[in-house]
C-alpha cells in the first residue's frame, strides 16, 4: 500500500474508534437493567464494548503496519478523484435544492454537473443530456409510476402535456 493509502487507512481506523467510543459512552447513559430484566441500554452496551475492543485492535494493527513500512511516495495515478468529488457533492447538493428549485431544475443542475465532470470536453452535450434525463425521468417516475416528486409550475406544465 502507498503512503496515501496508509494514511487513509489510519484515518478510517481512528474514525471507527471514535465512533465506537461515542456509541459506548452514549449507551452508558441509558438504563442497562439486569440480566433478568435487560433495559434499553443493555444490548447497545454489549455491542459498544465489543466494537470498541475490535476497533482498538484494528487501530493498533494499522499503526504498527504504518510504522513497519515507514514512509513511501504517495501515488494518485489512475484515480479520477474529480468525478468522485462531483458525484458526492451532487448527492449532498440535491436534497438542499430540491425543496426550493423543485424536481426539474434541481435534477437538471445536478445531472449536468455530474455529466460535465465525467466528460469535461463536452459542455453542450452535457447540458442537452442533462435536460433530456431530467424530463424523461420526470415523465417515467411521476406520470408512469406515480411517484410523488416536488412539483413547481414547470412540473405541472409538463405533467399536463398530453392530457
Amino acid at each position: 500500500m502507498d503512503g496515501n493509502g496508509r494514511r487513509k487507512e489510519t484515518i478510517i481506523a481512528l474514525a471507527l474508534l471514535g465512533f465506537s467510543a461515542l456509541y459506548l459512552v452514549s449507551s452508558f447513559r441509558m438504563e442497562i437493567g439486569s440480566p433478568r430484566n435487560p433495559g434499553p441500554g443493555f444490548f447497545p452496551t454489549v455491542i459498544g464494548l465489543l466494537l470498541t475492543v475490535c476497533t482498538g485492535i484494528y487501530v493498533m494493527r494499522v499503526l504498527r503496519k504504518s510504522a513497519a513500512e515507514g514512509r513511501s511516495a504517495p501515488s494518485v495515478a489512475g484515480r479520477n478523484y474529480r468525478a468522485i468529488a462531483a458525484i458526492i457533492a451532487s448527492g449532498i447538493l440535491y436534497p438542499l435544492i430540491l425543496g426550493t428549485l423543485k424536481f426539474l431544475v434541481s435534477t437538471f443542475l445536478v445531472t449536468c454537473v455530474m455529466l460535465y465532470v465525467l466528460k469535461p470536453r463536452k459542455i453542450f452535450s452535457s447540458i442537452f443530456l442533462a435536460l433530456a434525463m431530467a424530463i424523461v425521468s420526470f415523465m417515467i417516475f411521476s406520470r408512469l409510476l406515480g411517484v410523488g416528486l416536488p412539483m413547481g409550475p414547470l412540473e405541472i406544465l409538463l405533467f399536463n402535456i398530453g392530457g
Partner: protein, 515 residues
C-alpha cells in the same frame, strides 16, 4: 405431496398472469444487464430498485427480485466467457476456462453449456427450495427466542468466517451494522436511543438509504474512479452455439454435481454463489480424469461452477422464507422489500401467505426458462451493453437512486443519508472493508436483540439456560468448530512442517556403533 402439487399449480396459475410474467421478464432482463456490467451486481440493482417495488404488490416485488438475482448469474457468465470480464463476483471462476474456450473458437459451446447448466441448476434448486422451506418452516414453528438468537448469532459468525477478507474487519462491519440498528425508539421500553433529540432519527435509520448508498452509490463511485476504456466486443454466430456430443457428455454430470453442491452451499451464510463456484471448480478438477486440462479450456470447469452459482441462489432463499433470516446480502434486500410491503418473513409466512410463496416459486421456474430463451439468442445484444459510455451510465444510476430514495418517504434527510452512506461505503471498500456484513447485521440486529432480551426474561436472566438449549447448543458448537478448525489446522500444519522428518533431516542411528 398432493397438497404441494395443488399449491404449485395454483402458483403457476397466478404466475402466468400477464402482470407477473412481465415482472419476471423485466427482472430477468435487468438481472442479465447488471450481470453483464462490471461493477454493478445484483445487489446494486436490487438496492436501486428497492424503493420502486412499492409501486407493485408484494408478490410482484418478489418476482422482480428473483428475476434480477437469477438473471445476474446468467449475465455474468456471458462477459466472463466472451471478454474475460466477470460481470459479478460469482462469474470469476468462469473466466478461467470459459475465456480459454472462447480463444479456441468454442465460445458458443461454453455459453450454451453455461445457460443449460444454469437452467438445470435453477430447476433443481427450486425443487430443493420448495421441500426445504416446507420442512424447515414446520420445525421453526417450535423455535423460541433462544433458538432464533442462536440462528442469528451463528449466522453472523459464519458470515465473518466465510465472507473472505479480514476477520477483524468483517467483525467491525457487523458490529457497526448492529449499532446502527439500535438507533431509534426502543421497541420494548419506548425510550429513544441515540437520536440526539432529532425527530427523524426516532424512527430509526432507514434501511433503504443505507443499502442504496452502500451498494448503489458506492459502486458508482468505485467505478467512476477507474479510467474509461473501450472494450472490443466479440460476436457469436447462432450456429456456433451448439456443443459437440463429447462436450455434452463431459458437462452434463458436472452440471448436476454443481447443482446439488450449489444448493447446499446456498444454505450457508455468506456470499454463497461465489463460494459455490470455487468449491465446484475444485471438486470438478479433483474428479476429472484430465485435471491438466483445467485452466486451458475444460468445459466441465464452465458447466460445474455456472450450475453451482445458480443453485446457490435457490438455496439462499430457504433461510429467508423458512426462518425470516437473510444469510446473504441479496437476501437482506429481498427482506427489505418484504418489510416495505408490511410483511414479516418467517415460519408463519408460508402458512399465512401461501399464495405469495407458491407464486414466487412458480415464477422462478418461468424466469429460468425465460433466461435460457433470452440469453442465447440475444447474447450479442447483451454484450453490446458494455459499449454504453460510463459517463452516461453513472449519472443515470445516481439519479435513479436519488429518485428512488425520495419516492418512499418524500424525505430530504433520506436523500442526505444516501449521499453520506454512499461516501462511507466507498471509503470502506477502498480500505478493504466489505460493506455486505454491515447491511446484513443491520437487518438481523433487531431480531438478535429482541430474541436475547426475551430469552433472558423467560429464563430469569440465566445465560446458561439461554445458550444450553439442545438446538441452540448444537448450532453454537458447529459454528465454533467452523470458526476454529481452519485456524487449528493451519497451526497443526505449521507445527508439522517445523518438526524434523525422520530420514530426511536426521541421521539414522548407526547400528554398528551399538554393537
Amino acid at each position: 405431496m398432493w397438497e404441494i402439487s395443488q399449491n404449485l399449480i395454483a402458483g403457476f396459475n397466478a404466475a402466468l398472469s400477464p402482470t407477473y410474467v412481465l415482472y419476471a421478464l423485466v427482472g430477468a432482463i435487468l438481472g442479465t444487464v447488471t450481470g453483464v456490467l462490471p461493477g454493478l451486481g445484483p445487489l446494486g440493482a436490487m438496492a436501486i430498485l428497492l424503493s420502486f417495488t412499492l409501486t407493485m404488490d408484494d408478490t410482484g416485488a418478489m418476482i422482480l427480485f428473483a428475476g434480477i438475482y437469477y438473471g445476474a448469474m446468467y449475465g455474468g457468465s456471458t462477459t466472463s466467457i466472451l471478454l474475460n470480464i466477470p460481470g459479478e463476483a460469482a462469474s470469476v471462476v468462469t473466466c478461467i476456462d470459459g475465456y480459454e474456450m472462447s480463444k479456441r473458437g468454442r465460445a458458443g459451446a461454453a455459453l450454451t453449456v453455461s445457460a443449460v447448466g444454469s437452467f438445470i441448476a435453477g430447476t433443481i434448486s427450486i425443487l430443493g427450495l420448495m421441500f426445504a422451506v416446507l420442512f424447515l418452516s414446520d420445525v421453526a414453528l417450535r423455535f423460541g427466542p433462544a433458538e432464533f438468537l442462536a440462528i442469528g448469532v451463528c449466522g453472523l459468525t459464519l458470515l465473518v468466517r466465510l465472507s473472505g477478507g479480514s476477520i477483524l474487519q468483517s467483525m467491525i462491519m457487523i458490529l457497526v451494522g448492529m449499532a446502527l440498528a439500535t438507533v431509534g425508539v426502543d421497541f420494548l421500553s419506548g425510550i429513544e436511543r441515540f437520536t440526539f433529540g432529532n425527530l427523524h432519527l426516532s424512527q430509526g435509520i432507514e434501511f433503504l438509504p443505507v443499502a442504496m448508498g452502500i451498494f448503489g452509490i458506492s459502486e458508482v463511485l468505485s467505478t467512476a474512479e477507474e479510467k474509461e476504456y473501450q472494450q472490443s466486443v466479440k460476436k457469436v454466430k447462432m450456429r456456433e452455439l451448439l456443443p459437440t456430443r463429447r462436450e455434452w457428455k463431459s458437462s452434463v454430470p458436472s452440471m448436476f454435481r454443481g447443482s446439488f453442491l450449489g444448493f447446499l452451499i446456498g444454505l450457508i451464510p455468506g456470499p454463497s454463489p461465489v463460494i459455490a463456484t470455487f468449491v465446484s471448480y475444485i471438486s470438478e478438477k479433483k474428479l476429472s480424469k484430465h485435471p491438466e486440462k483445467f485452466g486451458k479450456g475444460a468445459i466441465e470447469a464452465v458447466a460445474g461452477p455456472e450450475a453451482a452459482n445458480n443453485a446457490a441462489v435457490g438455496g439462499a432463499y430457504v433461510p429467508l422464507f423458512a426462518l425470516g433470516i437473510p444469510f446473504t446480502p441479496a437476501m437482506a434486500m429481498v427482506l427489505g422489500a418484504l418489510m416495505l410491503h408490511g410483511l414479516t418473513p418467517g415460519p408463519n409466512l408460508i402458512r399465512d401467505r401461501a399464495d405469495l410463496f407458491w407464486t414466487v416459486v412458480a415464477s422462478m421456474y418461468l424466469g429460468n426458462f425465460m433466461l435460457v430463451a433470452l440469453n442465447l439468442p440475444l447474447v450479442n445484444v447483451f454484450v453490446n451493453i458494455l459499449r454504453v459510455p460510463k459517463h452516461i451510465l453513472m449519472p443515470t444510476i445516481v439519479l435513479i437512486c436519488m429518485i428512488g430514495v425520495y419516492s418512499v418517504n418524500s424525505s430530504l434527510l433520506d436523500l442526505l443519508l444516501l449521499a453520506v452512506f454512499g461516501f462511507v461505503g466507498y471509503i470502506l471498500r477502498s480500505s478493504g472493508f466489505q460493506p455486505a456484513p454491515l447491511i446484513l447485521a443491520m437487518v438481523i440486529g433487531p431480531m438478535i436483540e429482541t430474541s436475547l432480551r426475551q430469552a433472558l426474561n423467560i429464563t430469569g436472566g440465566s445465560i446458561t439456560e439461554v445458550v444450553c438449549r439442545p438446538i441452540g447448543m448444537t448450532m453454537y458448537i458447529v459454528t465454533s468448530l467452523v470458526f476454529i478448525l481452519p485456524t487449528a489446522m493451519k497451526l497443526l500444519r505449521r507445527l508439522q512442517s517445523k518438526a524434523p522428518m525422520p530420514g530426511r533431516f536426521e541421521k539414522r542411528p548407526d547400528r554398528t556403533s551399538r554393537i
